[in-house]
Amino acid sequence: MKKNHPAQSYSRRQFLRMGGSCAAMSQLPLMSTMVMLGATRAALAQSPAAGGYKALVCIALSGGNDSFNMLSPIDYEARGEYEDARTNLAESMEGLHQLVDARDGRRYGLHASMPDVAQLYRDGALSFVNNVGTLIRPTTMKQIQRGEARLPLGLFSHSDQQRHWQTAVPQSRTERTGWAGRMADYLSDQVNFDAPIGMNIAVGQLNILQTGVGQLPYVVDGRGGASVLEGYGGSHVQDRIVTEATDAMLEDIYDDLLKLTHARSRRRAIDAARAYQAATSGVILKTEFPKTALGERLRQVAVAIAARTELVHHRQMFVVDQGGYDTHDAQHKQHPRLLRELNDALKAFHAALVELGCLDQVMTYTASDFGRTLSSNGDGSDHGWGGNQIVMGGALARCSNPRMYGEYPQSLAMGNALDVGRGRLLPTTAVDQYMAELALWLGVPNDHTLVDILPNIRNFYGPGNLNGPLGMLPMQGRADNCLLNSTLGRGLSGL
């Protein structure tokens, strides 16, 4: 097979240029893709991480999105229960965008501020994972009522729940790495060898999620991307002195580990910014993004995706943040504005992925501290537990009509079967299941590797299973004809 294919004579650089083009890659038969990857590294052909470029984009909705207002039931009885529970927080039916779950025909109202998200759902390019939250193991109301449940530490607390979503170890407050960091520890050896910066890129701020044993997210700014150290390497006499002095002082010469950490951080910041800027400087993106913080951040992600070839990235993982969801007060004013910003940014990001021809290779998903109490505190809602999340990407819709994932609660009445108090809902899908679906899709094998990345996953999902825990995404190694058939032309229908 190999000798019949011209790929073996490609230089690595040539291959990467080709492989980096999402559109070009997606039109090649799967086998050729495998062979071409084999040309770059023998081990890679057997690697579960093979299969061209892929990326995950996490949008952290910080503060706890009131996601039962983002997506509310509109079937008659369920609506009445929703309105009774939410009292003055209930969204009016007027303006809601009706979405139907193809699984059971249940109808939902998407928030009035999210018309484009609604359209993307109807197009099959976006969906929802419902009532997902932190769990250690499958947990029932009975266990909770009897005090027999083993529950995540610090339920309903921002700092704890944000941490648990990121570490996927909710039984610990001291875990230092995040699941995407551990995933990058594994995947970087497989696919991103020789990359000047790691596969994990954060726009805005550092996070635990992307921190691994050997990985730290590369942090860029929403507005400026990377900031290079001015004058470094310059020819002016002052710049020459500072460059030489800086190089000398950033060597590993410190006993004090804070100084050593500082020296290494600065060294990395200098080198990575140069590499990042060189890689992204030629990127031209026609898609207009909204001039919001989230819009700017997602634009930065699109730029880094466009520069994947130059960055030598076969896998990328991004985290961007949209703050302000902790709507204890003025929820009626704040929440629609936040969802509108999210809608506009998602719409632009989707359009940019179409422009780049990468729609099928990028999965975007939301994470949030927790859902919120269904009950009102007068002007807003308080910290809850399970909530609904958005997933977006061309890989979603290969074989199905628009549908949702996870289980939307049958009833949102106060005191319903999942209500642990004040309308805080016991999650029916664990964060681990949600994240495992994404990790498997990105190329993590369902063996001990997945357990290294998501230590509690075996409480929810068995080894060797070829379908993902949510049945949401097409998986490597699984015979899936619709995967190949639907690849062609996806870029167009995605519009």
Partner: protein
């Protein structure tokens, strides 16, 4: 010359070869004392102020030589306790007036008027924490004064005042602002970015009144501060207990303040002993939580019935940010409550319930070690030993006169603790050529901290005698989040800029700390905001400042554009620049507390010698290089 001496020196038996330190050649005992006192004064002022100006360092160093080290510091602290407080809101208001805005009409200003409120909030903060600019008549004070006291008596009052700003109070207020955190994103706080869709009415400067409350209480009592924090309308807005009503059939009390007042402002997540050690369940080995969700629900019932002062009804939202919130008894839950195992009777008023709830937190065993550790982290070091936490906690528990929560006692216990006082080692030796040599070194990983960007930058400006060309002497630096990754009033959330337990990836994760530290791990919170972007941008900012020796400020105000400069003075450095060794020794003391290693100093000296003849290039390059040197950014 230094290099040769160093090699000889390394051979001496009493010179520990693994110590990374910088050495200074001194000719006699007086020079040795001057060196030691200047380094200690510089180090102390990096903790107790926003960085020492050369004149302040010289004055304190002279006092150290005169009175002895600890007595001089205590004298300085006592003196600071007596200085009048500087407040931020009046400065911002004055800036607004000077820019042509009518303060009485502030609520009427509209978006079109383009009052960029964050500029005034940030500028007033920088102005106050940096102190007044040095008067232009002041002579270069780089030479150490033989006796600070004699010379100051004959000087005009204005000069004395210029040096004696309430730096310690401001520094403590900044520490408190990072514990009792609010930011500028509350409703009505006038954050044009975050209230993009709200009518941009300028109701007030918002968070500045809250900040001034912290300034006022910085030398007061923790319990009174906690009370004022709880009743402050800015906190009530930020964490949502303003217009928090008791439970009805359709609504339940807001739990936000109930949670954070426990988790962040008083007792923390876990049961602690007096040494700050987390207590664990004997059976499971799990840490013991200091409160449960039931406690939060109960505390939430306490914080019901508070609303803004001067309004005609509960929930009218006129937002008076300048007076404490008042009781609206009808909306208070007067039922019995059980708070952390203590029962409160039914039928009590809002303020009675709140007083009891805050007393419970105040007297909780956790509060002393919890608050002690946070304040030590802000003022002195990232990883205080259990003993240090214990001693500061004891001062919190009793100031010596039976008073609990006295911040003056806490501040003294923090700044005058042996662990703070003796964190630098001074080794005296005579090298082979007979020259006396003082080697300065720090204690390493468990004894240092990365300086916060705003403190690093304020210390930089003060070290180079920043002065403003504005007619009123304003330091209207505005928003520096972009350059520093940190800015007063702009913490991303109530969790501050960084978490006290943040541990950066890398070598610290594998470090096994000594038994002196309470919980078997080291943290370095400030690394949480030292991102790849921030690391370069800070240096870029300093580079711009040093290149032109001035910071340009231009601002579009109601009465036209403003343009002025904040000038830096590097005359001291220029005078020494012909001798790279001397220049570096001088900058080492000034910026790095004398801890720049000999190896690095020699390398830098060689680079300066070989690359630049010009004293301007040498001085500026040396300053810029050291502004980002690990030895000068991570302090002991």
């Amino acid at each position: 010359m230094r290099k040769i001496l160093l090699v000889v020196c390394l051979g001496l038996p009493f010179w520990a070869p693994n110590v990374m330190g910088g050495s200074f050649i001194v000719e006699d005992e007086e020079q040795a004392q001057v060196l030691r006192s200047r380094i200690l004064a510089t180090q102390f002022l990096s903790r107790a102020s926003f960085g020492g100006k050369p004149a302040e360092i010289d004055a304190l160093a002279a006092e150290i030589r005169k009175q002895g080290y600890k007595d001089a510091l205590e004298f300085w602290i006592d003196h600071q306790f007596g200085l009048p407080a500087s407040f931020h809101e009046p400065v911002a208001e004055k800036m607004l007036r000077n820019h042509g805005y009518d303060l009485d009409r502030l609520p009427e200003y509209k978006k079109e008027d383009k009052i960029w409120v964050p500029h005034y909030r940030s500028s007033s903060w920088w102005h106050v924490v940096l102190g007044e600019p040095e008067p232009s008549l002041e002579e270069d004070t780089s030479e150490s004064q033989p006796s600070g006291e004699e010379s100051s008596e004959s000087e005009p009052a204005s000069k004395k005042e210029a040096v004696e700003r309430d730096q310690l109070r401001q520094r403590m207020a900044w520490a408190l602002a990072q514990i009792f955190v609010v930011n500028d994103a509350g409703n009505g706080f006038n954050n044009p970015e975050r209230e993009a869709h709200a009518p941009n009415k300028l109701l007030s400067l918002g968070v500045l009144h809250y900040y001034d409350m912290l300034v006022r209480n910085a030398f007061g009592n923790y319990r009174e501060l906690l009370g004022e924090v709880t009743l402050h309308p800015v906190m009530g807005t930020f964490l949502g207990h303003a217009y928090n009503a008791k439970e009805t059939a359709t609504r339940q009390p807001d739990e936000n303040y109930a949670r954070e007042v426990q988790q962040l402002f008083s007792i923390g997540l876990y049961e602690l002993d007096a040494w700050g050690r987390i207590l664990v369940d004997e059976n499971t080995g799990e840490p013991l939580a200091s409160y449960t969700n039931d406690d939060i629900v109960e505390f939430a019932r306490v914080f019901t019935g508070l609303g803004f002062a001067g309004e005609d009804h509960f929930g009218s939202y006129q937002r008076n940010f300048h007076e404490p919130m008042i009781m609206y008894e009808r909306f208070h839950d007067q039922g019995e409550k059980r708070l952390l195992g203590v029962d409160l009777d039914a039928g009590r008023s809002v303020l009675e319930d709140i007083a009891s709830a805050l007393d419970i937190l105040f007297h909780h065993d956790n509060t002393a070690p919890f608050i002690a550790r946070l304040l030590i982290q802000r003022l002195v070091k990232s990883n205080p030993s259990g003993e240090y936490i214990y001693e500061v906690g004891q001062a919190f528990a009793d100031n010596g006169q039976g008073v609990r929560g006295d911040f003056k006692a806490v501040i003294k216990a923090i700044l005058l603790n042996p662990e703070a006082l003796y964190s630098l080692r001074f080794e005296d030796s005579v090298d082979a050529s007979g020259q006396r040599r003082i080697t300065v070194s720090g204690g390493g990983t468990e004894h240092s901290r990365l300086m916060e960007p705003v403190l690093l930058y304020s210390a930089f400006l003060r070290a180079f005698k920043a002065s403003s060309t504005h007619p009123e002497g304003y330091f209207a630096l505005g928003e520096l989040s972009h350059s520093l990754g940190q800015q007063a009033h702009r913490a991303p959330s109530v969790f501050n800029f960084y978490l006290p337990d943040h541990q950066p990836a890398g070598p610290l994760q594998d470090y096994k700390p000594s038994g002196n530290l309470p919980n078997g791990r080291v943290s370095a919170p400030e690394f949480q905001i030292m991102t790849d972007v921030a690391a370069n941008r800070y240096i870029n900012r300093v580079r711009d400042d040093i290149r032109d020796l001035e910071v340009d400020i231009t601002f579009q105000a109601a009465n036209g554009p403003y343009s002025y400069k904040i000038a830096l003075n590097i005359d001291d450095e220029l005078a020494l620049a012909h001798d790279p060794d001397a220049l570096l020794a001088h900058l080492d003391i000034k910026l790095c507390h004398g801890t720049l290693s000999d190896e690095l100093r020699d390398t830098l000296s060689e680079i300066l010698e070989n690359t630049a003849e010009n004293v301007h290039s040498r001085s500026r390059a040396a300053i810029l290089a050291l502004a980002g040197a690990p030895d000068c950014v991570v302090h002991e």
